[in-house]
Subunit: 352 residues, 4 copies
């Protein structure tokens, strides 16, 4: 299923080495004038940079195929398409025989008899460009209603940002290629990625996302819980292997007397004095910012020789990946996390 959502339906399409990737937003209200500067900024944040991203270069210009009239959303489906231009399928042929470990290759080949492995076909991270484009519209819609969604690189490899970051600091991550919150961390993260890349290896990391401006009780019950739907959409991002809210897995070791966030009145509003629970109780907001982290594994496509099977010979074999790949996708994934969070929150907002 390329689709998620209840009232705002988000639908992906395309593949890595086809003519384009794209997304449809169904249920987007009419009347919003699209801020193309914002859209382009979001798109550029997902683009690879320098030695810390893939050498594949795409202009990534979103074309609105429907849903806009004179730059304003017209209440119909919004369809955004992004052309694939810099494709090079020559390096993928061998993966039909020797599928890459840690990659969708093997199950995809078994599931789809005619699977197109080039650039990973419809499993390609390239479709996240369409996520970011659609997410930019959702972000703009939410921002006009006081809801802001900001993410940054919490850790990459062994470099971990141990500070608690406020929304303004997180916003500052937009000026750093690794999406770190300060220059020092950015430098350390860059070195970490470049080192992995130089060794023909790759490295994982964690993105943290903070959502502000949601009123107390925003969210839903049981399977419509805000955290449940955010978890679902985050796992829709390739390479995501986990999500945690607030103190997350550390909550296992905490007593309730510690992890319960106390309520207080502050200028007539109810606030919590701590935020161990990440702003969500019972699937609904409790007045704190919503805070969650998403872990991304290292990219599976690496230059090192790896053990795998050979589907043609039926024997054990090895594979080395020589195409163009990211040594770390976390810096680019930060923009995707923001986009999918925005789409999910906007979908819930339209259901309120």
């Amino acid at each position: 299923m390329y689709r998620i959502g209840g009232r705002l339906i988000f639908d992906l399409y395309g593949k890595s080495h086809g003519p384009c990737v794209g997304a449809v937003l169904e249920g987007f209200p009419a009347g919003m004038e699209v801020d193309f500067d914002l859209l382009n900024e979001e798109m550029s944040l997902r683009k690879p940079t320098g030695r810390i991203g893939t050498p594949r270069r795409e202009s990534d210009t979103p074309e609105f195929k429907e849903g806009l009239t004179d730059g304003v959303t017209d209440g119909g489906n919004i369809r955004i398409e992004i052309a694939n231009k810099d494709t090079d399928g020559s390096k993928y042929m061998k993966f039909y025989d020797t599928p890459r470990p840690g990659h969708a290759d093997l199950p995809a080949l078994l599931k789809f008899p005619n699977h197109d492995l080039r650039g990973s076909g419809q499993f390609s991270g390239r479709l996240t460009a369409a996520m970011v484009a659609a997410g930019a519209l959702a972000k703009q819609y939410l921002s006009a209603r006081g809801i802001e969604i900001q993410a940054y690189s919490k850790s990459i490899g062994d470099v971990r940002d141990v500070n608690v970051r406020d929304p303004e600091e997180i916003r500052g991550s937009r000026m750093f290629p690794t999406r770190a919150c300060d220059a020092e961390t950015d430098k350390r993260m860059r070195l970490c990625i470049e080192k992995a890349g130089a060794e023909g290896d790759s490295v994982g990391g964690v993105a943290e996302c903070v959502i502000t401006g949601l009123p107390i009780s925003f969210g839903g019950i049981w399977f419509e819980a805000l955290d449940a739907e955010l978890a679902h959409s985050m796992f829709g991002i390739p390479a995501c292997k986990g999500i945690e809210f607030g103190d997350g897995f550390a909550l296992a070791g905490m007593n309730g007397s510690v992890s319960n966030d106390p309520y207080r009145y502050e200028n007539g509003s109810i606030v919590t004095t701590t935020n161990h629970l990440g702003g969500i109780v019972g699937g609904m907001c409790d007045g704190s910012p919503v805070v969650f982290r998403v872990v991304f594994k290292a990219t599976p496509s690496i230059g090192k020789c790896q053990d795998t099977v050979n589907l043609k010979t039926g024997k054990n074999d090895t594979v080395e990946v020589t195409g163009r790949h990211d040594p770390c996708i976390v810096p680019r994934a930060v923009a995707v996390v923001e986009a999918m969070a925005a789409i999910t929150v906007m979908d819930q907002l339209l259901r309120e």
Copy 2:
């Protein structure tokens, strides 16, 4: 939304202090003779025991209101109902004024003008009894097809089981009240829970779940990915604050050359020689067992005095909880994790 699923729809109903809780399974194939011994075993694993669970005592006998004819599924909707008998709403009245921190009380009161707070109303963990009953049917269905789902307590408070557990050991956790995998860990976990309870406090923990028997390529793409749907259903369980697959958050610090699980032929089948990725790549199974962990926060209802607001006076206040509550829900949640995993996997199986 009390409902989840694509082809097998699972639908919850009821509330803590109403006449009953229940669940509907829509799309369950006809012809399966229900194993009532298995069903009762699952139900009993969710029941509170000794001093490590709530003193509320319910017989938790599932009644089949429809969907069975002579004990065999008849292809219609299966509706299972569980009566509420041991209810005592007397202790909940004060939470209308002073909502419990860390609890659904406050957002629920703001969201639903006539919200019934007794036992947390429709947010009650009591509805997980219906999850377990429905899950028992799904487990039986899957088991007949070679798919087994087993969970256990990975950690409770500061007690952590550091061993890698195989399915047989995990199955052994059924004989221990804490769902630990061995007697020694069980004893330590019990002490940890009893200590928290004695102090009027509560404690969190982690459940680990292992799914065996899924063929390579089982799962789906993008938002239908097996991990995405498991994440969604796990966050449907109250108190869940995070989920991770395989090495989970530790993958952030790993290189691809380590985390990629190599493929090998073994007796003609493809297997992986490690399982860092938890058996899932690209949303589909890679031949390893599926392994994930779910963290549950400490129960918010504790005897200690906590800061909160008073919605009637509009002033800051405190609250102490005196009803019947679990000092730790992890031992009981293990059965719920198995149940929801089974429902999710069976739903995907029916879509294959």
Copy 3:
């Protein structure tokens, strides 16, 4: 699928000779005080009367199992249950061998290996009691917003009401057992039904439904069109064999210059001066009342000897039906048409 709806989900359950039938409404807004007099009136309109309905007698008292707190909708799922008391399964055994022509018996037996034929099991018209109960709530909700839904018997057998009926006349049909709009037509329809019943036969008919108060543009596009969703829900009523809007099938023979309903201003509002199209263009309201008709076939269970097959002997055979059945279901179906129309319109209203 026992379920329909986008934002207001309506879900049926139960069977004819089980303990009860029921319905769930998910997504019904909190805060409506239920008018039980209206609810009971709607229920009584679906009950069989005199010789024109089945002799099966049920009190049909809807019990609210959840969703009401002190008689007010509380924002949770509303579950309404109606007990089955006057069941008599003795007459159904022979249909396992000799399925009734014109009835769900044969396909149901082939589809569901353990199908319970008594009272037609889960296919029973008895579940329409739950439709009417749920529909009464939707009607009340709509009525408070100026939207009224009224239906009546347009024809029964060869008795056809040739008048154009306005909402007030249609409302008057509530005092006549056949749901005719005047005493004279009621008498003729009654005779028609009684004649069929006396001959051990049954007869069909047409219900017409008029919806007033919908604003211009109410509805949706393509498969969310108001007429598309009404058609879907009407065919969910047993025995429905067709639906037409406005002049319906007569539109085939009309020119556009006749069937196009002209717009005019009237007291500042836009109205149409004719209503050939039944108030809907492009799936949305055009300002006229929405008018549609639903045809119901004659009940298949008749006393006359009919040709059928014998599934046990594998030979041709005959069957006579001796249970309790309606000689005409149209008078009772009128209430069901109103109910399902109300549920569908309210669902669309919540999506606007």
Copy 4:
């Protein structure tokens, strides 16, 4: 909602005067080699011909943007796009002020603030080209499984084909521009359409569709009934105002002893000896061919002067339509009926 379906999701996009129209089929099984001759034949049957269709000329060549690898379905989403080339929006500007009676103009303008009226925007019958292209794939899939779907023009204006037509005769309608079943009827229908066109008027009609090869019990219960889902998808076709199965509205006047279709064994199979009920009982097939009729109203865009309102002046006004329009859409709609029936039946088949 541009989307319909449970397991096979059909999703429309585009508008009349945008760059293209298109459709996505999600859930189409991998491995079917597309028969492009069949596809082109279906497309050509929807094209306007001579004086009985619009003068707008489009090549209507479906391009597969995704889902095919070397002409074979690859298990991914199938996206088919059809370019709009012969657009002329000059004649539509006045409808912003004086909306056409009988047309989506007025409600669409009120619903969507920036609605693009040219060619009716996203309400355009032009999107039915995408229905036909997608339907051609579903037809091929069904045909390989012995299921055939055939439709023809049952009536146009006052010309009515009174014969019962068998599948072979219906197939013959493909050689006649009006989709009549014989040359004589074709001629009379053509004259009827040309007469209306010459008068600046338009005319309606009825398409009849016959589905053969469905096994007894094919279909579903309640809102998943085969007739309920066919009704929903038929009302998704613009200008549809009614649907009836078997004897349809005539069943109102029939006794059960007549309308019940008796079962008999014939060469070991169960058949019905009559087909009053259109092959469906209880939402499932009874062994007879499924037969239904769909009525289409006359095209609203006519050259005659019509009364309407002027939204700019707020006064009554008139409008004459001078763009390119079909005097009768029934001959073209026949192909669309077949396509949508095929998509709906295939969707149900994948759910069986």
